[in-house]
Symmetry: C2
Subunit: 215 residues, 2 copies
């Protein structure tokens, strides 16, 4: 069966899953769920994902159709189903570090920049949502920049892309949208991000190249 | 070498790692890092974890000493180093679901209830931090309650504890501290939480039983 990805072009969590699918060479049907119009809250999407979030991936596992959610859980599943090319190093410490950096973005930055969170803050004070999102982007990326120096090669962990990179590229895209001067503040991350964006899988997953990009 | 866990008794992310260590029967030295006094920001802790967060776990992997961070990355590492007793099901879909539920707590609730986040909100409006933490606890646990019905047995995924349970128990503890009436609102989660707390590993990890509990 065809994989179906429920995605929104600018959603950084969707972007992560698009990268993993493309790097692993898995074709999929793209189903656009318009976050700004609240389509993730409609009945059809709630039925497939009561989390009312994207990304959600519909796929067949051992003969049964499932819809799975949460980008990092999806990445782990794709790694187990399609181990090659790998997005986790073999070395146990480095595997852990790849996941740590992924979580630094997933739990440390992204929850503070999603539309709902920002909207709730704006209701308290105009502009507070954006200000807070910028704060957490800066704190998280500063830590990522410091931490990544211990393991970086061409990419975050040596010379093969990993979960850390899969999360980094969408976050750098978000940070630029918040007008954070990433090039001067995070030189190591900027170099890695640039190298990653030259890889076909990462390039194909870019928001500008998605069917709903103009929406 | 002895494992060393940098922990704070009430930190829900530390609580998760304590559960995993106890379930897997791994003894460790408990090093208290007082979050309310900002000890996680001191130089000694920054050197071991530039994320300035707890939990952090010092351990030896393939002959080398490392400090690893981010609770879910630590859980994955412990699962790889000490696969038995397992905290992930064997079935690929259920493994994904266990991780999805864990992330629902880790990325969906916890970032909104940590002390820094609440402090920033309180600076905008008195009481806003607590109000927001309660909101995200309620949204996340409502979703968890709905989602878990598909897989629940004695615990969140069938009859063996998994990452989903490791994250659920500390979250239920937090929700009660926010005076959320979990018993009436989340009957399935309450039943599972009760069953889990009767397991020796989960019981040993409870905040009240930690060396810094009185601090």
């Amino acid at each position: 069966m065809t994989l179906r990805l429920f995605s929104y072009f600018r959603s950084s969590a969707s972007y992560r899953v698009r990268i993993a699918l493309a790097v692993k060479g898995l074709p999929y049907e793209y189903v656009a769920v318009h976050l700004m119009k609240g389509h993730q809250k409609e009945d059809a999407h709630h039925a497939r994902n009561p989390l009312e979030q994207i990304p959600a991936l519909e796929l067949e596992i051992e003969g049964k159709t499932h819809v799975v959610a949460q980008s990092l859980a999806i990445l782990e599943l794709l790694e187990e189903l399609h181990p090659s090319p790998a997005l986790l190093p073999k070395d146990l410490f480095l595997r852990c570090r790849a996941r740590e950096l992924a979580e630094l973005v997933n739990a440390g930055i992204q929850p503070h920049q999603n539309l709902t969170t920002m909207g709730r803050l704006d209701a308290l004070e105009k502009g507070a949502g954006r200000k807070s999102a910028i704060h957490y982007n800066e704190v998280g990326l500063t830590t990522f920049e410091e931490r990544v120096k211990e393991t970086a090669g061409l990419y975050a962990i040596g010379d093969s892309p990993s979960f850390a990179d899969v999360c980094l590229v969408p976050q750098m895209y978000s940070a630029r949208r918040f007008d954070i001067d990433v090039a001067s503040r995070y030189p190591t991350l900027t170099r890695i991000d640039h190298a990653l964006n030259e890889l076909p899988g990462f390039a194909a997953a870019h928001p500008d190249r998605q069917p709903d990009a103009a929406a």
